[in-house]
């Protein structure tokens, strides 16, 4: 059990490092199509993290919506705008180094703040399941839920209007 636990811990860290690595590749690779693939891996990795955190439902949602829907959209867009995927075209702009410095400053700041922080944590993870989540969504969260559904509808209609190239 102990070994299993520590194995899980080690693999958790491994996953985290992996996600970070893939994410960095996602934002730095010259080929946008590759970036999309790396993004898919990142999102999958995040789903794994959800598993580790015992949020199985969310992990499912993550895979379904992100990897399924959003990735499709992204790749679709990349295709539509073609040529753009040409790896010879530089994919990052001229503010790489300033941005890096800025990000590092943020990182230092955030991490130092996090390290100063202590949390009121439980001994074991609190878990929930799809049923309770579903009940919550249709109960306590019904209002935001309805709002989001409306927004989704209207936004999609709007997106279609904007994207359609009729005259």
């Amino acid at each position: 059990m102990e070994i299993f636990n520590s194995l899980a811990t080690v693999s958790f860290y491994g996953v985290l490092v992996g996600i970070l690595a893939v994410a960095i590749l996602t934002v730095t690779t010259r080929n946008l199509f590759h970036a999309a693939i790396f993004l898919a891996f990142t999102l999958l990795g995040v789903a794994v993290v959800y598993f580790f955190l015992q949020a199985e439902f969310l992990a499912g949602v993550q895979i379904l919506i992100y990897v399924g829907a959003i990735m499709t959209l992204v790749i679709f867009a990349i295709m539509l705008t073609s040529k753009i995927g040409d790896p010879n075209v530089p994919q990052s702009n001229r503010q790489r180094y300033p941005a890096l410095i800025l990000i590092l400053a943020f990182a230092v700041f955030l991490i130092s703040t996090i390290l100063k922080t202590s949390w009121n944590t439980t001994e074991t993870l609190q878990t929930t399941d799809a049923i309770r989540l579903g009940k919550a969504l249709m109960g306590e969260f019904v209002f935001p839920f309805e709002v989001v559904s409306l927004v989704l509808l209207i936004a999609l209609i709007g997106a279609i209007v904007v994207a359609r190239s009729d005259q």
Binding site: N93, Q95, L102, F109
Partner: protein, 638 residues
């Protein structure tokens, strides 16, 4: 209750108003309005003077202003001093108005001239009748204004306009002193009423430094108006005006206002020997200096102008050495013979058409009336007894002698000598010998010669009331019960007569017997000659210093305004351009200001700041995060 003396100044004022508003219709008749008005006030003045001579007095006033709860009155007061002035002003004034009918006829602004004369009479009479210092200041400025108008009467002539302005500004300088003198006097004593200015009041403040300053400042006014050194420069230029004006304003009456003021405030000056001494010195210097200038002038009016300055200096000196009655006496006599001299000169100019004595000569035959009246006046001013000038001049010399100021006395004697000389020089150059220019002289009309004749009698006789022959009636009248001791000093009388005669003889020798001599003298003593001719370069000196300085300050102030206050750093680039466009120099500078500087800076900042908005979204995001970082950092650290 309004008493009749109130109308003395008001009648000329009414005349002024009538001529101004109806001059278009009255045309030539305006002169008669003016003559009637001045004659009327002359009659009233005589009546008032008679009443005063009987021991009466007038005082009438109302509250004009409140200064810190102290009422400032406005009114008329007639005492012996003002009665004398009233007489002089209205009498001579009337004659000159009549004379002007002849002198000014054919002038396009004929009516306006009489309007000015009326206005002047009003102002001068108001001045004389004033019951407070503030009021006198008020009319003081008004007469100055009339003088300005009348000097510049022929304003198309640039020199006339310039002379008017010069007179006004020079007077203003003195007047500011006068004004400050009034203010200081008011705060030192709490009153500006002449009725209050008695020796007792002054004694209460004896030794007061403020009052000393006040007295000096008040005297500044007199210096300006009576053309005393160093503010005498305006009077010769004032001869640009029509000659009757020179006679009335710049010889007989207005310029004497300064003397009148000093006489008015005599108790004040008398109480401060230091001030009196200053007055005496200034008077003497003026008298001597102006007489010296008069020696070489060739313009007939300029000679008379310097003579006027010199005589005014005489009076000032008299007052300075304590001869209040002597000064006033000379004022009166001088008014007569100097008016006569000017009118005579006017007649000469009118008859001959020139003013330069180089072109005159021999006018004796063609202008007999003018000649004889002129002789009377010359004799009077030269101090030949028993003509008017002798008595008054003699009394002044006595005063100076008795006061113990030896230098002043001898200076005045020297002045008398020079006076006699330059007056006879004038007489000989004008009327004797042969006519040097191409002239067609003719005698003036009756309307001009009649006043000459009247004044000639005046010049001869007016000295008598002050002479020992009439027991110094005039002096007693003036001192009103406090008769000054009048001494006859035979030494002084001898000197006086001697100088007069010496002057006559020298002039006769130089200009009648040996007319070629003056030129030789001029060459030999060229330093003196040039100094006299150029009036010691005082005008030039002023031009170079005071006026130059004034203009420079003014110009610089404007440049300062445009450059520093209004502009500052603004547009160094434009400056180089503006050098090339010197014409628009000032415009360029005004364009920009401190506000513009700010505006310019803001606009430049704006132009730079907008560049942050590059249009690139990644830059925007960068700003967002940078800003957030700054905010986080700031908030964590407060």
């Amino acid at each position: 209750m309004v008493t009749y003396p109130v109308f003395i100044p008001l009648i000329p004022l009414a005349s002024f108003a009538i001529i101004v508003f109806f001059g278009k219709w009255l045309k030539e008749k305006s002169a008669w309005v003016a003559i009637l008005a001045s004659a009327a006030s002359c009659v009233l003045s005589l009546r008032a003077a008679w009443t005063v001579a009987q021991g009466g007095s007038f005082h009438q006033s109302f509250n004009w202003l409140m200064i810190n709860n102290i009422p400032l009155e406005f009114g008329i007061a007639i005492d012996p001093l003002s009665a004398v002035m009233l007489f002089v002003v209205t009498f001579i004034g009337t004659l000159i108005v009549i004379y002007s009918v002849g002198y000014m006829h054919e002038d396009p602004r004929y009516a306006r001239f009489f309007a000015y004369l009326s206005l002047f009479l009003f102002s001068m009479l108001g001045l004389v009748l004033s019951s407070t210092l503030v009021q006198i200041y008020l009319f003081w400025e008004l007469v100055g204004l009339c003088s300005y108008f009348l000097i510049g009467f022929w304003f198309e002539k640039k020199s006339a306009a310039e002379a008017g302005r010069k007179a006004f500004i020079t007077n203003r300088i003195g007047d500011i002193g006068f004004f400050l003198g009034i203010v200081t006097f008011f705060y030192a004593t709490g009153t500006v009423r002449f009725a209050d200015i008695r020796p007792e009041l002054i004694h209460a403040h004896a030794g007061s430094a403020v009052l000393t300053a006040s007295a000096l400042l008040l005297f500044c006014g007199a210096v300006g108006k009576s053309a005393q050194f160093p503010l005498h420069v305006w009077l010769p230029d004032a001869m640009e005006g029509p000659t009757p004006v020179s006679a009335l304003i710049h010889a007989a009456t207005m310029v004497a206002a300064g003397i009148y003021l000093v006489a008015r405030l005599f108790p004040l000056f008398h109480a401060f020997p230091d001030v009196s001494q200053v007055i005496a010195i200034i008077g003497t210097v003026t008298a001597l200096m102006a007489a010296f200038f008069a020696l070489t002038q060739m313009d007939i009016k300029k000679v008379l102008a310097y003579s006027t300055i010199s005589q005014l200096g005489y009076m000032t000196a008299a007052l300075g050495v304590g001869g209040m009655t002597a000064g006033t006496f000379h004022l009166m006599t001088h008014a007569f013979f100097k008016a006569l001299l000017f009118l005579g000169a006017g007649s000469v100019i009118h008859g001959s058409g020139v003013q330069d004595m180089n072109e005159m000569g021999g006018l004796r035959k063609t202008m007999p009336i003018t000649f004889w009246t002129f002789v009377m006046a010359t004799v009077a001013i030269a101090g030949i007894p028993p003509f008017a000038g002798f008595w008054s001049k003699d009394e002044i010399l006595v005063r100076a002698f008795e006061s113990g100021h030896r230098i002043i006395f001898w200076a005045l004697v020297l002045t008398a000598l020079m006076t006699s000389f330059y007056m006879f020089r004038l007489l000989f150059l004008t009327f004797f010998g042969k006519t040097r220019g191409h002239l067609h002289p003719h005698e003036s009309p009756l309307v001009m010669t009649l006043p000459l004749i009247i004044l000639a009698f005046g010049s001869a006789l007016i000295g008598l009331p002050g002479s020992p022959w009439m027991h110094h009636w005039f002096q007693n009248f003036l001192a009103a019960g406090h008769p000054e001791e009048i001494g006859m000093n035979s030494f002084v009388v001898t000197i006086s007569i001697a100088t007069s005669v010496a002057g006559f003889l020298t002039a006769f020798a130089l200009y009648v017997l040996k007319p070629e001599l003056p030129k030789r003298f001029a060459k030999k003593y060229w330093v003196l000659y040039e100094a006299s001719k150029n009036k010691l370069w005082i005008d030039e000196f002023y031009q170079a210093t005071v006026i130059g300085w004034f203009k420079a300050v003014s110009k610089n102030a404007f440049v300062f305004d445009a450059e520093v206050i209004d502009r500052t750093v603004n547009e160094v680039g434009l400056k180089t351009i503006s050098v090339s466009r010197i014409k628009n120099w000032i415009d360029q500078y005004i364009v920009d200001g401190l506000v513009n500087l700010t505006g310019w800076t803001v606009r430049k900042i704006s132009a730079v700041l907008r560049l942050i908005q590059t249009g690139y979204i990644h830059n925007y995001l960068f700003v967002l995060l940078l800003g957030l970082l700054v905010i986080v950092f700031a908030v964590f650290n407060i």
